[in-house]
Symmetry: C2
Subunit: 204 residues, 2 copies
């Protein structure tokens, strides 16, 4: 139960970090502020995470794990490739424009060392990307899409689905799209993808 306690405490601390990040931005998020908000001690933060960058690295890593699990569950829950693809799009938009993802992207943008950005990138290429590819491949197996290069198909789908949503979120230009907007955009991406990759002649 020692371990259990610690996990709960870490969850609270990281929750506090996200809350501050979303309220005051990266520069306004201080170690003391996080500790105060989580009713934790300064020393505990440093004992567990080493230093400020360490805390944010942990945040990124955990977030990536959670996203992968969430997306994976959604894929596993559905048998039909077309349905999966239809439900997958809005979910992907949701998680990539979620305040948490935006906060982490902002932190990465502010990190001169580029370490956070690299972590996010690895999470994308290593965890999220393959999941999307898996969905696309299932759709191909089902005969809904035709393509040779799965990598190119993935890039195309992401461009159509996400586009510049993330950068516009990160610079505060737009709010997170609501369920309806997510659905509309995902449907458009799927329609266009089918136009491009739906025929029997593989275009990519």
């Amino acid at each position: 139960m020692r371990e259990e306690r610690r996990l709960i405490r870490q969850e609270q601390i990281e929750q506090a970090a996200y809350a501050l990040l979303e309220e005051k931005g990266f520069a306004g998020t201080t170690m003391q502020g996080i500790a105060l908000r989580a009713r934790a001690s300064n020393q505990t933060l440093y004992a567990w995470y080493g230093d400020k960058p360490g805390l944010f690295r942990t945040l990124v890593a955990r977030n990536a794990d959670q996203l992968r699990d969430l997306l994976q569950a959604r894929i596993a829950a559905n048998g039909d490739p077309v349905e999966t693809l239809e439900q997958f799009g809005p979910l992907l938009i949701e998680v990539l424009t979620h305040p948490r993802a935006v906060a982490l992207n902002r932190a990465a943008a502010a990190d001169p060392s580029g370490a956070l950005g690299r972590l996010i990138g690895e999470a994308g290429r290593g965890s999220i990307g393959p999941l999307i590819q898996q969905v696309l491949l299932a759709a191909r197996d089902n005969g809904d899409l035709h393509f040779c290069d799965p990598q190119a198909a993935l890039v195309l789908y992401v461009d159509l689905l996400i586009g510049d949503l993330q950068i516009r979120r990160v610079i505060g230009l737009i709010a997170a799209p609501d369920a309806s907007a997510r659905h509309t955009r995902a449907a458009r991406a799927l329609t266009l993808l089918r136009q491009l990759l739906g025929g029997s002649a593989p275009a990519a």
Copy 2:
């Protein structure tokens, strides 16, 4: 020549600001650092720009003006819509992934007030967007593209051309694409756009 001197001095100061921004990131860029680098006085910075946010607002505004002029010149220089479109894509990729644009986007990401982001957004919607639309409309007039909604065509083209390049640049995941990469990507966007909007039946 008093005015002339001041313009030169401002150019030097802003140059120094960009240099520091690109070297040390937004948090590492201090007013004193800029002044030192530009061999200017602290007071001059404050006299001319008011405060730190004011300096960055100026940077964003001037950059937007420069981009608009550059893009506009490229459009005006070419008569044939297809050629214009082919040359426009790589240029747009270049300016939007340029270190300066990336630095300003990072500054906007770090600005909790969102004012910088709004400025960038206005520049995009007000200056850059219409220029792209103008190119697309010229291509339509020429019979190369068919669409009803110019706004939707613009969004589609930007998604295909830029996609998530900017966010990946901003979090330090990729370097600025070189001329060859820019050309390849722009060609892909144009090919796909023609596939989607090239037929006689307008899809958007």
